[in-house]
Symmetry: C2
Subunit: 553 residues, 2 copies
């Protein structure tokens, strides 16, 4: 069986100008980056009112291998194109760190991939590198300010702004910097995050334009003074330089699927400590250019889905017209109590036992008033009996489930799903937000955990309670809440699969992201710098004299 990169390398890639023409971009609205990638900046005068239909792809709580959400997103969009709809995709950019470790790319798989797959997974158009550059430039400017007499009175023990790289490097999680004597800075504790965890990543993907981005960058809180007052980038006076470093990174990137469906790939914020979806600009641009836009949100519906609907949609000024929940037979078996090694064995009873997880997501997504469709991402080991059991469960709920064999067949494997999505998207929807912007943080939290997770409420640690009092003084207490929780369970305990009952969510602490404009509620210890496995993917990647790459997925 051909690997993802072999299928990608065998594909017929159109010159990017042909894709740009297909979506109606004028020559002034795009710039080439190589032969098959472009940066897009559409004209301000483009119509803002006649937006396309928005399809949000999310999923049940996934297995560690993932449920193929990106693959379904790509395959569904190709199927919509096949059905004659003028369709675009809006996706996140993959992070390079995990590519060298073990994780699959974020460009789909099999015959439902975005091209050029290798480039997108490596440096792409340099957006993440520009962010890394801006992130570490800010860190250097902060340490330089402390070194040069510390005019802002920054307390080096109360720094928020760490350093960042797009590398999986556990050795950099915690470091002591500024060593080497009086000419080499002031010693202090520090650490590195992976760049997708940077607040600048969240800001880039939330900004409508350069000036919005600059204003958000100015509001970033980098730490506190010895008097416990927040210190911002504005205080340092370097927001202009950082915005200059991000002047091209803010522009969405145009590529194509194997079936030539135009695709915008832009930004890649984490789905736990940030909003976990592609940029506002990319989604908006796609909605202005196409009649159907398929996009996805990271992790399951409890994390990415909720954030898309409660946080991204209001900023975007557009709510989804259909929500697609991706489920797989093997994930449902895991939720039904099977071990990872047993997932390829036919077992209708295990599927049955696991359906409660899908049920919770169907219920929580349906409450937003948007039509919901279930996509069963089909694997070769799935049996008809298992598939039928899922379909019956979804039908009992009042919705419909369709199989999608997009890995093997591309868009042709999702014809029924596409028809259902078109039908659903044209149904009138009546979006109902989960909470009001003016709700207190505890009220917002309570609504999220009860309605979306099925929890009995929320418990704040002493630290978290104290922080909310502090934040009220700084004026941050009404910021939207971004939940940082395990993706594997509806609860904050990764081992509780299915649809756990009688549990509360424990908020250990809040992390203020004032520039991005949200408070992260930490429900456990979230690793913001991954490590590499015993045998990293890097050991298998190779390239020959002609530039042909092997071992990249």
């Amino acid at each position: 069986m051909a690997s993802d990169i072999e299928i990608a390398q065998a594909a017929d890639v159109w010159p990017i100008e042909k894709i740009a023409e297909k979506v109606g971009l004028t020559p002034a609205e795009w710039e080439p980056y190589g032969r098959d990638k472009a940066k897009v900046e559409i004209d301000d005068s483009r119509d803002d009112d006649d937006l396309g239909k928005l399809v949000l792809v999310t999923s049940i709580n996934p297995t560690p291998a993932g449920e193929g959400k990106s693959t379904v997103t790509v395959g569904l969009a190709d199927a919509l194109s096949l059905a004659g709809e003028n369709t675009m995709i809006a996706l996140r950019e993959p992070s390079l760190g995990p590519v060298m470790g073990m994780k699959g790319g974020a460009t789909g798989g099999g015959h439902s991939q975005v091209l050029p797959m290798a480039d997108i997974n490596l440096h792409f158009t340099g957006d993440f590198h520009a962010l890394t550059s801006a992130h570490n430039t800010l860190a250097a400017l902060i340490d330089n300010s402390i070194y040069q007499g510390n005019p802002l009175n920054i307390d080096p023990r109360r720094m928020i702004w760490k350093r960042a790289l797009d590398v999986n490097d556990r050795a950099l999680r915690n470091a002591v910097v500024g060593l080497g004597g009086p000419t080499s800075g002031v010693p202090r504790e520090d650490g590195f995050d992976i760049i997708v965890a940077s607040e600048l990543m969240a800001i880039l993907t939330l900004s409508h334009n350069l000036m919005d981005m600059k204003a958000r960058i100015e509001r970033i809180v980098i730490g506190y003074t010895y008097d416990r007052e927040p210190v911002t980038v504005k205080d340092l006076g370097v927001a202009g330089a950082l915005t200059t470093l991000l002047k091209d990174a803010i522009k969405p990137n145009l590529v194509q699927t194997i079936a030539h469906t135009p695709t915008l790939i832009h930004g890649g914020p984490f789905a736990n400590i940030a909003q976990g979806t592609n940029s506002i600009r990319a989604t908006k641009t796609a909605l202005q250019l196409a009649d159907f836009v398929v996009t996805e949100a990271g992790f399951g519906a409890d994390l990415g889905g909720e954030k898309f609907l409660d946080f991204k949609a209001p900023l975007l000024g557009k709510t989804p017209d259909t929500i697609v929940i991706v489920a797989t037979v093997r994930a449902l078996k895991m939720h039904g109590g099977m071990a990872k090694t047993e997932l390829t064995e036919p077992n209708v009873a295990a599927v049955e036992a696991g359906l409660a997880n899908l049920g919770q997501h169907l219920q929580s997504m349906s409450r937003y008033g948007v039509p919901v469709v279930v996509a069963i991402n089909r694997f070769t080991t799935d049996t008809d009996a298992e598939i039928d059991r899922i379909k019956a469960f979804v039908a009992d709920f009042g919705a419909q489930a369709y199989t999608a064999d997009v890995w093997g067949q591309g868009g042709a494997g999702a014809t029924e799903l596409a028809t259902a999505v078109i039908e659903a998207a044209n149904r009138p929807s009546n979006f109902t937000p989960l909470y009001d912007a003016e709700d207190d943080a505890t009220v917002k939290l309570d609504k999220i955990v009860r309605t979306i997770y099925g929890a009995e409420g929320v418990e704040l640690s002493d630290k978290a309670t104290k922080q909310l009092r502090q934040f009220a003084q700084y004026g941050w207490d009404k910021l939207p809440i971004i939940m940082a929780k395990t993706q594997y369970s509806l609860s904050d305990d990764a081992t509780r699969l299915g649809a756990p009952k009688d549990f509360k969510i424990h908020v250990r602490e809040f992390i203020p992201k004032v520039g991005a404009g949200f408070l992260v509620a930490m429900t456990g210890s979230i690793l913001t710098m991954p490590g590499l496995p015993k045998t990293p993917a890097a050991n298998n990647i190779d390239i020959d004299a002609s530039g042909h790459i092997t071992g990249l997925f």
Copy 2:
């Protein structure tokens, strides 16, 4: 008076396809990066025997502000174009770290600039970011190998491979990493270099093709085992992945001057701990495409010039046809004993006293058997009497000096210089190497310091002597020598200006760069991670809603 960026922004930039056509590239030989930048990879079948004339621009020992070598390089090339010669330029890429600090860019100045100036000085086509990515990926893979049972028996106290960023960040010079307990690595001393100091930068710029680069990467020594045996990237098995990360960075970048002279800008290795010139591939490509190629070497003729002639030229397979030594009235005054604050005052006697520095470089460069021409980079404060004194001195030496007002006039300010360069390049030259590849390291060192610096010989520290014995065991003792010395003096003492006499050069230690293929001879403490000044340039850089940048030079 208009600033560099104002002049650059007012210039008429041709679409890059017009520049590509001008130099005769076929569509398959270049890829656009935006509208005014391209990556070039010329066809293997291109003629290798009929290379253009090569003009090497170097200088006397500079003042801290620099002698405008890049500006003269650009202006001279524009003058050669004006004279009807099919001319290209081959330059280094600027490093972003210093751009946020205080240093001018490496894209020339005034009316002798390369465009798009802002992009080239910011992220350009991402080459340095790809290098940073590969550099830190290797570092993470090394620490991961130590963490995962240390199968290669690496001694964490004897690591050579540090981490790297393209940021001026003194706080990262020395760091302790791997802190945080058993899940976050193994604690050890580490530090960050600026990316231009990375051995990968040297390798990228020395490699003829992908496979040459991979072989060099395999030979990189990252540290030693507990038994003091060298550990290489080949031992780690990740050269393929690192080469894959550099697959596009190895391709030279095509841009243009204000006068539309096609320019290849590629790579930026330090001129002290590396060879300090643009890539072999860029220079070679330019020589294959053009009749005249103007290139430069970092720092003065004692550092960049010597390395170009003794190290780069043999690898390039082509020696210069003319050497241009750039001098300025103000630098000669400094060599003549004047203080930095007195350099704008007319003072023929001070110029006279400083001419010994120019004399040493004239003598050392002439010994290679290549015609030498002196370019006086004219400043508005220079007097005719001062200029005439320089011209007379050079004439006594048997060479010719010409003024160049390229900052103010572009190519039109270097007409006479261009005529002299054309005449010199067409004279028969008889290149005589300084040393044999098979000479012992001490013999190579002795020849460099006596002939090029005018020293009385070289003294090795006990450590350096011991290292040479060790290197003989490893088979590294015949590698070419790269001198790391202050750029301000011919000696290893930055305060001894002019042409010092009766001095020896002190080699404190050697740094083996086995992948790049040279031994760095350290004659003092060379800072491989700069810091930021009290008021960094970043505080003045800004961008408006339309993307217009201010404060960048």
